[in-house]
């Protein structure tokens, strides 16, 4: 099965149809996606700042990691799940969107970055657990992590702007139009200055 057929079958799935047909589901999924990513970035940055020696410097790194990272993963699961569900509603458009691809690439790089941490600084964690900052490799991983997660957030926001009609893009392929569930929201009052709602 080639990729475009796979994308089409995702779009045609009962779940995707249900989300598209509902007035509430897509906005709620997107809200939960923002909630999840806020917790992911909020908690990861606490760990990164600790590695960099910029905050929580007097605390045990391992203690903080075991306190916090389970919540990061839980929030990541929520974000990935809601993101995947949003993807299914318009899979072809997202798949071909530049910012979506860039975001997936940076997400993969954050995974490699984490793996690099496990193979370097994490191996000697007993030596620096109580030190105010991590060794050089750990600091580099932390700085990269902060930069990449900020990038993921910005790219994610750009996906919304380039896959909806707000970007004045050519109409979406028949059958997968976002306009169907976006409706014609707030121009009934005749407010010409109002742009179409952003995704």
């Amino acid at each position: 099965m080639d990729i475009s057929a796979l994308l089409k079958s995702l779009e045609a799935s009962g779940l995707a149809t249900k989300i598209r047909d509902s007035v509430y589901l897509f906005p709620l999924l997107e809200s939960m996606h923002v909630l999840g990513l806020a917790l992911v970035f909020g908690t990861i940055s606490i760990i990164d700042l600790r590695l960099l020696g910029l905050a929580s410097t007097q605390r045990s790194f391992q203690r903080m990691a075991s306190d916090i990272l389970k919540w990061t993963w839980a929030a990541f699961a929520l974000t990935a799940l809601t993101g995947s569900l949003m993807f299914t509603t318009n899979a072809t458009v997202y798949y071909h969107n530049f910012y979506f691809r860039a975001k997936m690439l940076v997400l993969a790089l954050t995974g490699i970055n984490m793996l690099f941490f496990e193979l370097t600084a994490a191996r000697t964690v007993r030596d620096w657990d109580q030190a105010p900052s991590a060794p050089r490799a750990g600091k580099a991983v932390a700085a990269l992590s902060l930069a990449m997660w900020i990038g993921v957030i910005c790219l994610g926001r750009l996906i919304g702007f380039t896959t909806s009609r707000a970007a004045a893009a050519p109409p979406a392929p028949a059958g997968v139009s976002f306009d169907d569930f976006l409706g014609t929201p707030n121009n009934s009052g005749g407010t010409p200055t109002t742009p179409a709602p952003h995704k």
């Binding site: 923002v34 917790l39 909020g42 606490i46 306190d67 929201p185 005749g190």
Partner: protein, 174 residues
């Protein structure tokens, strides 16, 4: 009246500037706004976790709030600044919505809770550390205030979809 104000605001030059560059200005400001909410949510989350006894138990409550309160405060300033820019850039889209005003109400409630908590902790530090933090009602309040933050985030996103409120949304009225 709000609508008239929003329409007037949209004719002012800062607003026109943002509208003319909205392809990148609006996503950029929104991204910073989201980074701000992430910092705030992550920080208040750690304080609530400490109150519930689920994280940071190697620290006192006071140490925990000393670590995170400045991030909450500064994060909120960042959100206020970027939020104001978003309102200036798209006044009608932001102000003529049910979600925006409910969100602002919840932000005000959260701010009152946060200030009351901080001043109470300052005055009764020992009592907070030894007894209050273990009290069920306080823990319930911590969960409630965290849920208010969750509500604020959800409503922030729903501003873009105000029609889901049906007749409650001022945008659906003529």
């Amino acid at each position: 009246m709000v609508k008239q104000f929003a329409e007037w605001l949209s004719t002012t030059s800062p607003s026109v500037f943002i509208q003319n560059h909205n392809a990148w200005v609006i996503p950029a400001i929104q991204s910073i706004h989201i980074i701000g909410i992430a910092v705030v949510l992550g920080s208040v989350f750690m304080v609530y976790m400490r109150i519930l006894g689920w994280a940071g138990m190697d620290q006192t409550l006071r140490q925990t709030t000393t670590r995170f309160a400045p991030w909450v405060t500064n994060g909120l300033y960042l959100m206020l600044a970027t939020g104001i820019l978003l309102v200036i850039g798209e006044p009608v889209r932001e102000l003529v919505t049910f979600s925006f005003w409910l969100k602002m109400f919840l932000v005000a409630v959260s701010a009152v809770f946060a200030v009351a908590f901080q001043s109470s902790l300052r005055k009764n530090e020992q009592r907070w550390e030894e007894t209050l933090v273990k009290r069920r009602s306080i823990q319930g309040l911590a969960i409630l205030t965290f849920l208010i933050w969750v509500g604020i985030i959800i409503l922030g996103r729903l501003i873009a979809y105000d029609h889901i409120w049906g007749p409650w949304s001022p945008a659906t009225k003529a």
